[in-house]
Symmetry: D2
Subunit: 353 residues, 4 copies
């Protein structure tokens, strides 16, 4: 039941979706760092529901409240407690599901583990809790940017619709954070159709991290790729993670998969990047490329079968908001989770110098 | 540069491929547990090279030496130090590569991180180091077996050859740990061809864990799926990890992906198992299904281009042993890594009761 | 710069004396535990200044605000965030000292470590921050009480005035938490005299923990006595810690210091308790006896010499409130810190069963 | 049941007094550090019994065996496993005590905790296990010396005999590591008398650490004084710990206890050092002064009463070697434990820069 992330850049999250607040405490941060609330708010806003008609309409402003650790806009070196108050917690929509286990959700496992059926919209298992991770990650992301490390994530696939081009300028121009204009149009049609049917679709998020120094990560117990896999698999509904060529390695022989080292000016780089920027658990200076597959939303507006707390077979239908591809909002979460892990590895790397 | 695995079942590994020994210290283990050296040795032997003509021929006996923590075959509650002495360290084969960075290997990242070019066959980045993890994992696996939890891994795919049947009885009958007799034959032909060409192939290992209690794992920072992803991605050459339906979620709508709960006798189970036994980071009692993709061996017997320590372009050819699909030996490693992570989660679960 | 306490019962504190709030997040707590806010408030009130004329008059109500982890008065198993809002932060009294290093205080070390001269009454180094520890410890204390473990602390000595009797009923009857009625009267006279002179005195707090099961603590790295020493030395102004006979062991030969084991009904006890309830780092079932010496308050109302930020010699006089023996308020802190450490050891002990 | 020390300079110890070996694994050490085996051996030799007629005569050579992490005399950045093989384990002397609980020893608490009566001279609770800590601490000490930090410990008191002068040159000239020539003579007479009577005496070890940078330690959860208290209290038989003026603060008013800051050349120092070099949990650049009281040896050669495993009252007499003041050998242990803690704090300090 641990809620602590990271070792060097480490934070503890707290809060439930329908309690007073969600938040985090960042421990061990250096003094004198500028805390740019606007950049944190921006990443939080990107995750926030209700931004477009394609996401759930819960009306939370998700405004930051920093209780400690920041003085005159700078870190003091002491723990930063960030609170995001809950305002629009509509428990009423949960009445009809309070005694049953929704398929695909954590209702059953939470009930068995904690002995409590917290029917209020997910409680601690809600994706809303990840707003706390986004806040912490936004701070890490800002620090990385100052070091020349840039992280960008986007939706590469929804259902069977794949982005065929990666044009980063397109990402902000459509509600799907899709880097391919044509694919975005198809995604819109797909989602409209799926929504009309009361159903949902999965999506694939890809992230590219550039400017990473050579040497981040540990060779054994905390390999950088292992930490990235953990971070991305910690996102609600994640089912698979890839680094570099990922599953495609199966179709390559070694002589093709091996990335040849070449000299480029003063630097040593690789001609290809099948390794996704990591060799032996350690960054090699090439862009880190990671992907995470998010399953279709479990909350659908079709009648579903399940059992109730007493094991009796029942049918039910989710009411209220319908968010057919919540994975889209995973884009800022992926950026935040990656930022935390990479900044953590950077701090370790720096400490070891 | 951490080398500690786990929190409740935790161990620290040490040692280099070409030093005196590799080993581990298991900390925090309960007293009175039977330590069955034969079962540890069995898993170590499964990982050990030279078992068939399809793997590298390094002749290590990989015999256990337990220095502490066990008295009359039982744990004392104090740290167990296990040493596996190195005997067959042939540094001579490394002479021609000592000043260059082999593609696909960690030579370059280690050199940049540690300032040392340890050319002796990999040193700390060698897969041999994982023998220590196998020893620790074998102890966890044995404990899980007593609790009714069974872990079995096998090779599901090599190159383009896929197992189409999962017949667990077949696993021990072919050198590829393949559960499909026909596929095993094809794998043999594939490897022979690839070896003849001096090249290598990737493989996919699948593991199934049955008998897992409901409730293992944390809902946020240490989700069971996240810990599994980290453990499997910690295996040398791993590039992708899947849980349950994995990347196939992209092809399913929510109404198909959701696993319907049904009652089966006294238990609540799911009709399908797309979730792979984990919901909201917590085990749901269904079999845990995980897969890891291992890239083709970086050491091939074809001429390759690269740069040397000074950045000069060079060509080279690896000499000595040739192991075209070392990922096969990942099977016991996958079992060990999963055992460690699941036993760790079990101990946490038990502590929380 | 870690702010995390404990391993099994663990909490992170945050907040500064003159910021918005101080607080803590308790991570890893079991579900279904009753959270009795009144008992937490009671221990907080005991620490709170302004309770008698003998302590500082800062008027903080120190009221609890639980943001998460508690539902209908019971823990949910998720992190408990407790906030204690700051209300009476009078920074004005700090104007005349903002550019100098007060002797005995952490002004100089904080300035050198953090590069910030946070003159607002101590910021993170203020004893007020320990209110967060008291809140967490109060929860641990309540859990221990349910297990039959009782913790009581009292002031054994102020300056040269020592309690000669330990009558626990007296503790609540005087503002010094002194277990000896006569000594309490002398303490009153002593403090009045010291206060009149603008000076301060040190004090010795003793704690007795009864009902501890045999077996708490680790034999090496986390000995129970070592954890207690750390916890008590973590209290602001602590300079020495004793367990059992403490420094008096110097006056005893082994044949006198050894506590003889005897049988008492079904139990094995020791005739004397020089060990203070701990042998080999592990509780032996006898009362745990610990003491901590708190130095005289550094804030005195006499003119003092020091240097300013530029190293220039200056004289100054502290203004505002005067608390000549703030160590008295260490009594609830000692109880809270001990409760946290012993409950932590208890949870480990239980987990190992 | 944790056996891990430290966070930045961290090591895990293993081994029992009468098993194959004791040892440690140091994790997270930087690459390129010179490992001077002679300096480690020197500190180990200082702890080793049998050095003079005043200590136990167990004939262990305590020779280092480094299994990993060192290549050509330098650290590789990977874990260092150090083994000290046991050779002279005379279990025979333990026959007559195998079924009883020796007063002052951990026999009873270990039996209750682990369910095992390991009568072989103490097993894991033996002070011999601390040889592993000495080896790790010796490495830390060497690193600190390169940074200009010097640690020296000595025996300040045995029974009622106190050193009145601190002449560091005397420490190596008598078997008691006593800095006062006259006191050393008295100690010799005292020990002879106590030994003749089959009894034992306690001792006080003082350590002085000079050259410490300003800024080591955390302000809350890992105060430097708290870490020192924990480290010293982790030494077998320790019963009390002091920093700076320690218990003497009780006899001082604040105006006397406060150390006045003055300028000395370019540095800010304090005129007195009652704080013992630490303010607010953070080093202030003055010498760190710490003391630990070690109780009289529990193993005495007089008849003692106790109970056996079944609770029956019995009398017994310890046979074999007699070491009336084993605390003397605590001197190198104190140096090692302090070195580990201060180097750990130094690495954190450096990481935070």
């Amino acid at each position: 039941m641990s809620n602590m992330y990271g070792r060097h850049f480490r934070y503890l999250t707290f809060g439930e979706s329908h309690g007073k607040a969600v938040g985090c405490v960042i421990d061990g941060i250096r003094p004198g760092i500028d805390i740019d609330e606007a950049s944190i708010q921006k990443l939080l806003d990107k995750r926030r529901p209700g931004q477009s008609k394609f996401t759930t309409q819960r009306a939370e402003s998700d405004t930051l409240d920093i209780l400690s650790g920041v003085f005159n806009g700078k870190t003091t070196g002491h723990p930063i407690c960030i609170v995001i108050w809950n305002k629009d917690a509509q428990s009423k929509h949960y009445e009809n599901i309070k005694n049953l286990f929704r398929p695909g959700h954590a209702d059953y496992t939470f009930f068995k583990k904690y002995g409590i059926r917290d029917y209020r919209g997910g409680g601690r298992q809600s994706a809303r809790v990840l707003a706390a991770n986004v806040a912490a990650g936004a701070i890490a992301k800002k620090q990385l940017e100052k070091l020349g490390v840039s992280i960008v994530a986007y939706v590469k696939q929804i259902g069977a619709v794949k982005a065929k081009k990666i044009d980063l300028k397109q990402i902000g121009k459509n509600p799907f954070y899709c880097p391919d204009k044509e694919a975005a149009k198809k995604m819109e049609r797909l989602i409209s159709r799926i929504r009309a049917g009361g159903d949902s679709a999965g999506c694939l998020i890809e992230a590219i991290v550039t400017g990473v120094p050579v040497g981040l990560g540990s060779p054994q117990a905390n390999k950088l790729n292992a930490e990235i896999a953990k971070a991305l698999m910690s996102i609600n509904a994640a089912k698979a993670v890839e680094i570099g060529a990922g599953f495609d390695v199966m179709g390559m022989v070694g002589s093709k998969n091996n990335d040849i080292f070449i000299r480029k000016g003063e630097k040593i780089v690789t001609r290809t990047n099948n390794s996704g920027g990591i060799l032996g658990g350690i960054s090699n200076g090439m862009p880190i490329v990671a992907r995470v597959a998010i399953k279709p939303a479990s909350s659908i507006h079709r009648e579903q079968k399940t059992v109730d707390i007493k094991g009796k077979a029942v049918s039910f239908r989710v009411m209220g908001r319908h968010d057919p591809v919540p994975g889209i909002r995973g884009v800022p979460i992926v950026e935040a989770m990656l930022a935390s892990v990479i900044y953590d590895a950077y701090l370790e790397y720096k400490a070891e110098k």
